[in-house]
């Protein structure tokens, strides 16, 4: 399995001539083109754990520090981008190989613990949702890449004992408070996956504009979102609420093999949906009767 992870890691890097051979071996059809790589990984779905596991939904910060801390904990020097999916997958392959080659039971157990920690803390904590979006948006080669990767991760989850606690990333960042979140909180949170339980890409914003009939201003996501909210906030809150509810279902669908993590992400999406519903009503001038109830709490 480990060579598979390494090959999948290579495919998350910009395509080279070696990628052609790998695409063929992996049976993912034609090799991805450079512009496809750029569109997916540079403009839509940034392949860094910190984007999906940090409270601001941005590169770096505490989430990257935690990943770097993992590298240090196993006495490896963190690379320049310790949370890039390619490096994480390659590290996973490396640890699994070391585990196989371990000369003593004790050593094997120690490396196995490290591998399990990497899997649950820094891979399964975000990649399933991320790969959902890959399936939505990616061109054929990368869609196939995502399918193979999620299958491989599922297989690894199956053979690796469940951890006792939620990943620290998830414990360290709270979901939106459905009762108290202000419109500013929510507008910040919808672009921070861990805060709202969903991943919103540039394409998603374009889709929202199209569906609602708003003008989309070209620019980075925050700029485009602010523009959309300025045009019709209630409609946008409504649109995001529907998205959040859909994400809630997506996460719940993984409950069988990823119980705690899936439930946590689903709860985040539900909280976001609740908060968005309240904002939508407030923006429309209708105060909801009583308090908003959330059926799930993270």
């Amino acid at each position: 399995m480990m060579e598979l992870f390494r090959a999948l890691a290579v495919l998350a890097e910009p395509p080279t001539q070696e990628t052609e051979r790998l695409a063929e071996v992996l049976g993912i059809g034609r090799p991805p083109a450079g512009d496809e790589y750029a569109e997916l990984f540079l403009f839509q779905l940034y392949p860094y754990a910190s984007v999906y596991l940090g409270p601001e939904g941005m590169l770096g910060g505490e989430a990257r520090d935690r990943v770097a801390g993992f590298w240090r904990a196993i006495e490896a020097e963190p690379p320049a981008e310790p949370d890039h999916v390619a490096v994480l997958l390659a590290l996973y392959a490396h640890l699994a190989e070391l585990e196989d080659q371990a000369s003593s039971t004790r050593q094997k157990a120690a490396i196995g613990t490290a591998r399990a920690a990497l899997l649950w803390e820094h891979l399964l904590s975000w990649l399933p949702g991320y790969l959902d979006k890959v399936a939505d948006l990616a061109p054929e080669p990368y869609r196939r890449w995502g399918e193979v990767l999620i299958a491989a991760l599922q297989e690894e989850a199956r053979r690796t004992p469940l951890p006792q606690a939620l990943p620290l990333h998830l414990r360290a960042t709270e979901a939106l408070n459905p009762r108290k979140a202000t419109s500013e909180d929510v507008s910040q949170a919808v672009l921070a996956p861990l805060r709202c339980g969903m991943i919103v890409t540039r394409t998603d914003l374009a889709r929202a504009a199209r569906q609602i009939g708003l003008g989309l201003r070209a620019g980075e996501r925050r700029f485009a979102l602010d523009s959309l909210l300025a045009q019709d906030a209630p409609a946008m809150w409504r649109w995001f609420q529907d998205e959040a509810l859909e994400w809630c279902q997506r996460h719940r669908a993984r409950d069988a093999w990823l119980p705690a993590i899936a439930r946590d992400w689903a709860a985040r999406a539900q909280c976001a949906a609740d908060a968005l519903g309240r904002l939508r009503l407030e923006a429309a001038g209708t105060r909801p009767a009583g308090t908003v109830s959330s059926t799930m709490a993270p």
């Binding site: 290579v10 890097e13 080279t16 491989a152």
Partner: protein
């Protein structure tokens, strides 16, 4: 297909592709969790030819390690040698190198442009016309060597040993050429160090007996740097990467630099003091630690020579540590934050903050000072001395995260032959006026020659360019042009330089990948050796084609120095009757010339602990191991040597003096590591110092007379400088009190991070990045002068002026201007080109000199098509010509900072103009000479110099005695 099957399929494909010697995954990438080709694949490494894109064309390389020859940090390089063409295609970092760990600065990969420089010197040349006329003819190596060797032989036979001199820039090796000079019996080593680091060295030397610091940056809690160019301009790669590691672990970085350097931009605290005030700030920080009892009391009690201080300076007090602490508080009480603020122009609160941070560092305080502030100022040696005072107060000496003396983080193996030190003393380099000089008074040579102190029969400049690098370059031209003062000038250099124009022979020497050298540097808390080797020679040998002379594989007739010196030495004494030849003879085949393989094999077999075993584990000889990997780490994580107990076997007929210094009759153990350090004298009965008693135990201590850290220097006190016996503050020659109202301070010592003096100017990549040296000037000063960026300014020094462009920036403090000395290269004709060299016109009337620019750089046709693409013309200004010599009266260091007047350019001024009156430079020389305190008046024992101080070549003690002087 199952996932398992898919994985197996990938594995099989990988195996199949790699069995063909091809790469399956893309080259070095993060997928391999390393940035480097794995070493097991260095013999046949495959990469795609980028120039063939989009065609997929594979090229096979053998990766051969060597060591960079640009700056002195000795970073590892991997040469990618094309297996088809046997040409070097590129250089990358060597991951097996313990110091640089695979990383390089821009200068490393740019080595490729140095070896392929179309204008480099490829053949031995002999002057055809008058010196400096620019006419040359190609000669054979034999002709040149026989001529030079004959002159040296006659000088030695006629007891004119002091007429042979070797003037070296950064050596890039550890002692090879010093041993050659020792074999000849001449005291002719003349290093550039007194225009470089002598002041910093002096500060460290008086404390520890070792003249360089080695901070353990990576493990520090607080990193305090005075001057930044060490970390961004010169040794920056090994240090910078470890400073960044420390920062990532939460360390605080404090940088003192009047200029906003690259290092300063990364600092938590950037402090820009008035130049020369740095020691005052250090003393204020020290005073705060002392007055508030925040120092490591036990360390100070055990390791400072406070008893000696009390005995010498405070005989009124009982010799107790408590009394010393009281005295210590009195000594430094005047150095308040307010005092330091007034001297430095830095806000008092900032200095207080710095003191607070230092106080929290504990023993993890890593400090460093090298050139800049130390090299700029009269008394600059107190900058490093007061900086190390902080380490000494905190106990952060040879601790994890603290600062080590470099000798414990460096390894110099015993060589195959060790000739004795020369039995002569050369007063041209070690004059009586400067008995405490840390290094040779190299930059005073023109003045000494002019005033008849001696003359030179053979003068080598070795990869060194005194006309351009040293102050007072026109005085250098005057003596280099005078054959009655310098009989034969031999320039050993890979590329043309301003001094080589005034040579009789210009001999082409190899760049980093064209020569052998062994190096070790204090990059971190460990000991390693790095092996520079001629890459194509090593490559040929791997292909089963032995090479016995590096000229066979180097371009043209470029030679390596190791073989050159052996051959020259052999010719000086072809029959062995002078006793010289024995030091370049083979041990395997006595009577034959020593070969390079034997020279290094002997060292690696006998003198590098652990190397034979590491090599054997890979079925290699130690030499083969070093040729394959280029470096070896002997030890990492050194223990504090000073605390090591002295073994009983070394304690024989022991005596202990009243200060606890322990002497023994047991012979010194034969350590394989011959790293230079001071050699304290033995007792009057012939015992040698072996350690020091601390709390009843005999431990190694420091190589100082007292065996302890010398807070109090009896050497300084006894040799005429009692006022500086302790770390203190000396007001610089550019102190505000000494400047006229219309004068400013010029900082001239800083580097451009991608350049390295003369060596890098023909590296086209580096020169494209940086090729000018405008004058940094603060907007306030620029406003006063009504100048904007790009306007011409005239900068007047004591002896002349230069004309330069302004760069208005807040990166420099007001009242101070700065100009990097890295630029301003010139040549007198168009016979050769270069991306960083202007063509100039040199006029000379009496003592008045004028250098005017004819034209700057520009495109030209050559074997290298890039030379036709040179888009810049500005190559900077040669400011050093306008600086008179400023020898520090104690350390002998040239004090670089200048008091200048900055004016708008005159109507006739042209960019790059340099005008100097060398008669004025002589007057300044005499003014500074008068500050010195000569050994003739101040030697306490009738000798020329304290015997224990370090000295590159160290004559026997009897030669130290002043001729005709006191007999004690």
């Amino acid at each position: 297909m199952t996932l398992h099957d898919l994985s197996e399929r990938v594995s099989a494909a990988r195996k199949e592709v790699e069995s063909r010697g091809e790469t399956f995954y893309p080259g070095p990438s993060r997928i391999h969790l390393a940035s480097f080709p794995p070493k097991e694949r260095w013999d046949d490494w495959v990469e795609l030819d980028s120039t063939a894109w989009p065609e997929r064309k594979e090229r096979h390389f053998t990766l051969v390690p060597t060591i960079c020859f640009n700056c002195e940090s000795g970073c590892g390089l991997l040469a990618y040698v094309d297996r088809d063409t046997l040409q070097i295609r590129k250089f990358e970092g060597n991951p097996e190198h313990p110091g640089s760990r695979g990383r390089n600065c821009a200068k490393g990969p740019a080595t490729l442009t140095q070896i392929t420089d179309p204008d480099r010197i490829l053949y031995p040349l002999k002057r055809a016309g008058e010196r400096g006329e620019g006419k040359w003819r190609q000669v054979t190596w034999d002709e040149a060597l026989d001529d030079i060797a004959g002159r040296i032989r006659r000088a030695v036979q006629e007891k004119r040993h002091n007429e042979v001199m070797y003037h070296v820039g950064r050596p890039g090796e550890d002692g090879y050429t010093e041993r050659i000079l020792a074999a000849w019996g001449v005291d002719g080593h003349n290093s550039h160090t007194n225009v470089c680091s002598s002041n910093a060295r002096a500060g460290y030397h008086y404390w520890t007996g070792i003249d360089r610091p080695s901070p353990d940056f990576a493990n520090a809690k607080v990193v305090l740097l005075i001057s930044a160019h060490l970390e961004t301009g010169h040794y920056f790669n090994p240090h910078a990467q470890r400073i960044m590691e420390a920062k990532q672990d939460g360390a605080k970085l404090i940088v003192f630099d009047t200029r906003l350097s690259n290092t300063a931009t990364h600092a938590d605290h950037w402090v820009a003091p008035y130049p020369g005030s740095e020691a005052a700030i250090m003393l204020a920080v020290a005073n705060d630690l002392i007055q508030r009892d925040r120092y490591h009391r036990e360390f100070v009690r055990q390791w400072w020579n406070w008893q000696e201080y009390l005995a010498a300076e405070r005989p009124d007090l009982e010799a107790t540590f408590e009394n010393f602490e009281v005295a210590l508080k009195e000594i430094y009480a005047e150095y308040t934050f307010a005092f330091a603020a007034a001297e430095s122009g830095v806000d008092e609160a900032v200095i207080r903050d710095i003191a607070e941070i230092v106080a929290t560092a504990g023993t993890r305080l890593a400090t460093h000072s090298w050139r800049s502030a130390a090299a700029g100022n009269e008394g600059g040696w107190q900058v490093s001395r007061t900086l190390f005072l902080l380490n000494a107060l905190m106990g952060a000496v040879a601790t994890e995260g603290g600062t080590y003396p470099n000798a414990w983080n460096k390894f110099v193996p015993q060589p195959i032959h060790t000739p004795p030190h020369p039995k002569v003393w050369n007063p041209l380099t070690w004059p009586l006026e400067y008995p405490l000089a840390m290094n040779e008074l190299s930059f005073l040579l023109p003045h000494f020659l002019k005033e008849g102190r001696g003359k030179l029969e053979v003068y080598f400049t070795r990869v060194y360019n005194p006309v351009w690098t040293n102050p007072d370059g026109f005085s250098w031209i005057e003596v280099l042009s005078d054959e009655s003062l310098i009989g034969l000038h031999v320039a050993l250099t890979p590329t043309w330089n301003e001094s080589a124009y005034f040579a009789d022979y210009v001999l082409p020497m190899g760049h980093g990948p064209e020569r052998h050298d062994l190096m070790s540097y204090e990059t971190h808390n460990g000991q390693w050796i790095g092996f520079r080797q001629p890459v194509l020679r090593a490559m040929r040998e791997r292909l089963g084609q032995p090479v016995s002379d590096t000229r066979e594989v180097n371009p043209g007739e470029v030679w390596e120095e190791n073989e050159f010196w052996i051959d020259l030495t052999w010719r000086i004494d072809p029959d062995g009757d002078l006793g010289i030849r024995q030091y370049v003879e083979s041990k395997r085949e006595p009577g034959t010339k020593l070969g390079i393989d034997e020279y290094y094999a002997y060292m690696f077999d006998h003198s590098v602990p652990g190397l034979p075993e590491a090599a054997a584990a890979e079925n290699l000889t130690p030499l083969e191991f070093m040729r394959r990997y280029g470096a070896f780490e002997i030890q990492s994580g050194m223990d504090p040597v000073y605390q090591q107990p002295v073994p009983t076997a070394e304690l024989e007929d022991v005596r202990e003096n009243q200060l606890g210094r322990v002497f023994t009759r047991a012979p010194k153990s034969d350590s394989p590591n011959i790293v230079p350090q001071a050699s304290p004298e033995g007792d009057d009965e012939g015992r040698r110092p072996v350690g020091v008693t601390v709390d009843g135990k005999i431990v190694r201590g420091f190589p100082t007379p007292s065996g302890k850290l010398e807070f109090y220097s009896s050497t300084l006190a006894e040799w005429g400088w009692p006022e500086y016996a302790m770390p203190t503050y000396i007001k610089s020659h550019i102190h505000r009190e000494r400047l006229d109202r219309d004068q400013m301070v010029l900082i001239s010592t800083f580097r451009l991070p991608v350049h390295i003096h003369t060596r890098s100017s023909n590296a086209k990549w580096l020169t494209e990045i940086a090729h000018s040296n405008p004058l940094w000037i603060h907007p306030v000063d620029a406003g006063r002068l009504a100048v904007r960026t790009g306007d011409l300014l005239r900068v007047e020094t004591e002896i002349g002026y230069f004309v330069v462009k302004a760069w208005v920036t807040e990166g420099i403090r007001p009242d101070v201007v700065a100009c990097s000395h890295h630029m301003g290269r010139w040549k007198l004709d168009d016979s050769h080109q270069g991306p960083a060299t202007a063509t100039a016109n040199l006029e000379h009337r009496g003592s008045n000199w004028h250098l005017g620019r004819t034209h700057g750089a520009g495109p030209y046709q050559s074997d290298d098509s890039d030379s036709s693409r040179i888009w810049w013309t500005d190559v900077g200004v040669h400011q050093n010509l306008t600086f008179p010599v400023h020898p520090d009266p104690i350390s002998g260091q040239h004090c670089w900072h200048q008091a200048v007047r900055v004016l708008k350019a005159q109507p006739d001024d042209r960019y790059g103009d340099v005008s100097v009156d060398s008669a004025k430079s002589r007057a300044v020389y005499l003014d500074w000479l008068a500050k010195a305190r000569s050994a003739e008046q101040h030697s306490p024992d009738g000798t020329r110099r304290p015997f224990w101080l370090m000295r590159p070549l160290k004559p026997p003690k009897e030669v130290f005695r002043i001729p005709g002087g006191d007999t004690d």
